[in-house]
Amino acid sequence: MKKKIIAEISDITKTFGGLVALSNIDLNIKGGEIFGLIGPNGAGKTTLFNILTGMYRPTKGFFKLEDVELTRLPPHLIVKAGLARTFQNIRLFGTMTGLENVMVGCHVRTNIGVVGAILRHKGARQEEERIKDRARSLIDYVGLNASSAQAASTLSYGDQRRLEIARALATSPKVIALDEPAAGMNPTETSQLRELLVKIREDGITILLIEHDVKLVMGLCDTVAVLDYGIKIAEGTPSEIKSNPEVIRAYLGGDVP
């Protein structure tokens, strides 16, 4: 079955002064797949995420989601268009509760205006209830172990990672970009994460995944792209990537045997 391309990344280049962080990156991500992005440290993976989500402006190139160009839009409009993300180093709203963190993610899909929300008329209160229900169901969906009523900063590491995913899902994304979601997880947590990612894919959300756990990436992804020093050196199915000599050289160093 041939899937439709949902996200088109074309010719993205980013330089910081004289340093070329990303050079002419082209990626086509198909709807409903898990697209893995791997590469050694400093390859430019997170930089690419930062460009896609509007934190950085690319020096050159464009990014389209469902044929709508999002390059250079402010971050909140990119989220609204359907791209949400998590962070390599967890960036929750630490003093807010777990539930509130997810509720913030829901805001982008709400309609009541500022004045209405402050006056808390009937419609606003109903919407508030809907937000709360949705946030609760997302917290169940990602399988948070602790109470969602405690401050996010007091949650365990694994729960914080799950909460970040719930918060990103709350924005009702078409594509969710996960930056090393398995980092620092123990094997049990990693396998729970794998199940969660499969479930997200089954629910029709495309996943763009940066991950260092090669086993997880190879077992999970439909397509994998490899970055090295800001250049895409390979793209293909996991089995193609495993046997690609360029990739082996980038990861292990030295000459291709």
Partner: protein, 309 residues
């Protein structure tokens, strides 16, 4: 007459006003890490617009009851101050959002001076007296006097602070503000329009300032173009005392500062054997500021350190 109880009552009245103004400082600081030194001038504009609105409505062709005039004049003051604060942020702070900390501090001070001078041009240099819109009644309570105006000031301040806490903790607007206060960048990556939130913070702060301006000029029956300066500094002190960036802290700090000032003013004459009189009351606010900054820079309720990554 019981001096102590009397000073406590005066302190609570003064403190409620400080608290309302301090909230404006603390909200802006919480989100932008900026001390909005023009905030005191917004209080002054609130008082002045109120007085102008009262004289226009009272002298107009329509015969309105005094309470109608008060309500409309207060709403006008809130409206004008909100617009003013919106433009202060757009003109003086937003272009410098990513500039070094010192730059917006300088524009804040510049804004404050500018607003004072504009106010002087519009409303003149003379003290303006507060119109007698209602009968001031005085009650004696355990040997201390309290007026209906004072009761009203404390009552309305408490009601407003409670509603503000409700907005911050129970609505999506408040949630977006708290998220932005923690990290504007992450909030925007979660779909929060940070510029809207910042504008809104200034607008809400200005609304509180406008009400505080009306209350303080009602209490002293006087308004002046320079009244916002010292009031603003004291409210800033209150915000620092409570822990800047912390809403409850601003309320507690405001009330506490009002009490310290009043009680201090009541007893300073006795303590110094008449050498210093009650007009030294301003000394206490700044003494408190210095003591807090030296011994507990995070304030009473502030646990968050000022710098953010």
């Amino acid at each position: 007459m019981d001096i102590f109880l009397q000073q406590v009552i005066n302190g609570l009245v003064l403190g409620s006003v400080y608290a309302l103004v301090a909230l404006g400082y603390t909200m802006v600081y919480g989100i932008l890490g900026l001390i909005n030194f023009a905030h005191g001038e917004v209080v002054m504009v609130g008082a002045m617009v109120f007085l102008t609105a009262v004289s226009v409505l009272g002298g107009g062709p329509l015969v309105l009851s005094n309470s109608t005039i008060i309500v409309f004049a207060v709403l006008t003051a809130i409206f004008v101050c909100s617009i003013l604060a919106f433009f202060i942020e757009r003109i003086a702070y937003r272009p410098l959002r990513n500039a070094p900390r010192l730059a917006p501090l300088i524009t804040a001070i510049g804004m404050s001076i500018l607003l004072q001078n504009i106010a002087m041009m519009i409303w003149g240099r003379q003290y303006r007296t507060f119109p007698e819109l209602f009968q001031i009644e005085s009650y004696t309570f355990a040997g201390a006097n309290v007026t209906n105006v004072q009761l009203f000031i404390v009552g309305i301040s408490i009601a407003i602070m409670a509603s503000l806490l409700a907005v911050i903790h129970l609505t999506k607007v408040g949630r977006a503000m708290r998220a932005t206060a923690e990290s504007p960048q992450i909030a925007s990556l979660m779909g929060v329009n940070v510029n809207t939130v910042i504008s809104l913070t200034f607008i809400i702060g200005a609304g509180l300032a406008a009400i505080a301006g009306v209350l303080v000029s009602a209490n002293y029956s006087i308004a002046h173009y320079s009244m916002g300066f010292i009031l603003g500094l004291k409210a800033f002190t209150a915000a620092v005392l409570g822990g800047i960036g912390n809403l409850t802290g601003a309320m507690v700090g405001g009330i506490l500062l009002g009490l310290i000032e009043s009680i201090g003013a009541g007893y300073i004459g006795d303590l110094t054997g008449g050498f210093m009189g009650s007009h030294y009351q301003d000394v206490f606010a700044f003494l408190v500021l210095i003591i807090v900054l030296v011994f507990r820079p995070t304030g009473i309720m502030g646990e968050r350190v000022a710098d953010r990554s």
